[in-house]
Symmetry: C2
Subunit: 177 residues, 2 copies
């Protein structure tokens, strides 16, 4: 089967097509009237706890902003590749139906058949993965692409993209490894 | 990574570890005071529609009976294999949180990290799959095992198990293909 199919890209949700960090910053500003930088979300432990509480709040995932450029890029890539959206959603079980609804609202051109909610992405069979967590690239059998996020900026051993324009440029190259 | 890991079995939920058909029969009996055979669930189209309506009812997935022998067999197999529960849950989005809760209640020894809800099982990277739908075996790169269900009894080209005792017998054989 594998040989007869189009190449597949597994695409993460949080901080890749959904701007989770911006959503947290907006929420923090509304709650505490204080602006927090993306990098501070992952450094100041007291804030991390607050952010985690926010992640478990019902409704949290419903209105995360779409990552700039993600929609246009996935429309373009879906002409040549099978796109699967793969989210480690099991850690936040209340998020399952919200993430499904978010996808239907913001990426309705991607079928529910191409959605995967899992606890561990090593179970994914695809050719490429675009993800902000190195562990998901490390356990992947295909080509891993690290999507820049505040928490991964000091890692230098991965093929990195900073935004969705970079992703399109990468997939438009004739050869890349 | 693949070479360093234990072998993996992807196990379907509905009609494999969860006795979906029995649940539908019990519901039909309660509603219409009439007993329906498992085979009739898939033949009489008017019943199929009713069953489908039932599948979309909130709460439906919460109290499906566990398939006889499934719990004991998975405890045993999990000593030697990594068990992933893989359900095509996206077809029934309201089922996502219910299926998660059902797993935590009935198979709490299986971590949420080993749960996968997807729309299309061809995305699964594992060594074995136990499933009642031939399409999920056809698109799988590893060894497929057809778990007998009323709707698949006339298919003869698959490696078949009739129950969880058969699964244990199969995995205890030294060699099988």
């Amino acid at each position: 089967m594998k040989l007869n199919r189009r190449e597949r890209i597994a695409v993460d949700m949080d901080n890749v097509i959904a701007d989770l960090d911006l959503h947290c910053i907006n929420w923090y500003f509304q709650k505490y009237k204080k602006y927090v930088k993306k990098s501070d979300l992952y450094i100041r432990s007291e804030l991390k706890k607050e952010v985690l509480d926010f992640l478990f709040t019902p409704g949290f995932f419903l209105d995360i902003p779409v990552m700039p450029g993600a929609h246009k890029a996935l429309v373009e890539l879906s002409q040549r590749y099978d796109i699967f959206i793969v989210s480690a959603a099991m850690e936040f079980p209340q998020s399952l139906s919200e993430k499904y609804a978010w996808m239907m609202k913001n990426f309705s051109f991607i079928s529910w058949k191409n959605l995967v909610f899992c606890g561990n992405k090593s179970i994914i069979e695809a050719d490429y993965i675009i993800d902000d967590y190195p562990k998901n690239l490390d356990s992947f059998n295909g080509k891993g692409i690290l999507f820049s996020a505040a928490h991964n900026l000091t890692l230098y051993t991965y093929l990195r993209v900073n935004n969705w324009n970079d992703v399109i440029t990468l997939f438009n190259k004739e050869k890349w490894t």
